[in-house]
């Protein structure tokens, strides 16, 4: 008897791209990015405990172009994961399933996190200049 591959559940590429699944995928991607952020946070805390020299070394890493890119990225990832996470919690409680509510809350999460990321970094930049 020929061996056939077991049937599998529909995978990512079978779905039509629309706001619902895109935001769901973005939620997972930002979650993964934030897991890397957890490593960075722990590294930062360890450097702080290690003394002035090790903290200065870590601060230099975070102030480098790649470090800053990471910090801005993590800011967005955190804010999006937070807003969309609250959206998920509302669903878990049984609210917001209607098409209009789903779309409105989705756009709120995306645009809200972009706007808040911009606000945070404009504030940091303004503070840094003075």
């Amino acid at each position: 008897m020929p061996v056939r591959a077991r049937p599998t559940a529909p995978h990512l590429q079978i779905y039509r791209w629309q706001i619902g699944n895109s935001l769901s995928i973005l939620h997972r991607l930002t979650g993964l990015a934030l897991s890397l952020g957890l490593l960075a946070l722990c590294y930062w805390l360890v450097s702080l405990a290690g003394g002035e020299k090790s903290y200065a070394a870590a601060a230099k890493v975070f102030a480098s172009p790649l470090g800053l890119l990471g910090l801005v990225g993590w800011t967005f990832a955190f804010l999006y994961h937070l807003l969309n996470g609250v959206r998920h919690l509302f669903w878990d409680a049984g609210f917001g399933f209607e098409r209009t509510a789903r779309h409105a809350s989705g756009w709120f999460a995306v645009l809200g996190s972009i706007a808040l990321t911009a606000c945070v970094w404009i504030l940091i930049w303004a503070e840094h200049r003075t």
């Binding site: 934030l34 490593l39 360890v46 702080l48 405990a49 903290y55 919690l89 504030l123």
Partner: protein, 126 residues
Amino acid sequence: MSLRSPLGRVLGLGSAKDGTDHWWAQRVSSIALIPLTLWFLFSLFALPVFDYVALRAWLSFPFSGFLCVLLVAVLTHHSYLGTIVVVEDYVHSAGMKLLSLLLLRFLHVLAGGAGVFAILRVAFGS
């Protein structure tokens, strides 16, 4: 007629043996993380200067040290719960799956443990 044993029906755990534990733990930790993360970021923002001395002084306060320990612990747990689902979804060979899950577990305990220990070192001044 159901073939399920009365005990199996009462426990209601199904073949995975852990029922809805993972789902609940992820939601509960996410709710805890809303105030913890926001408190952490707002506290850092509120620091008049952002340098080594100010940060150590801030972390030495019992209140901030305690909340930071909670933050790192809950964050680690939540991150672990989230990342293992990704592995369970996309890593299909049994060996690689086991290896990835073990790696994630060790990595999270290591990172979380190091983070908590670092906070305690600052808090207790060593």
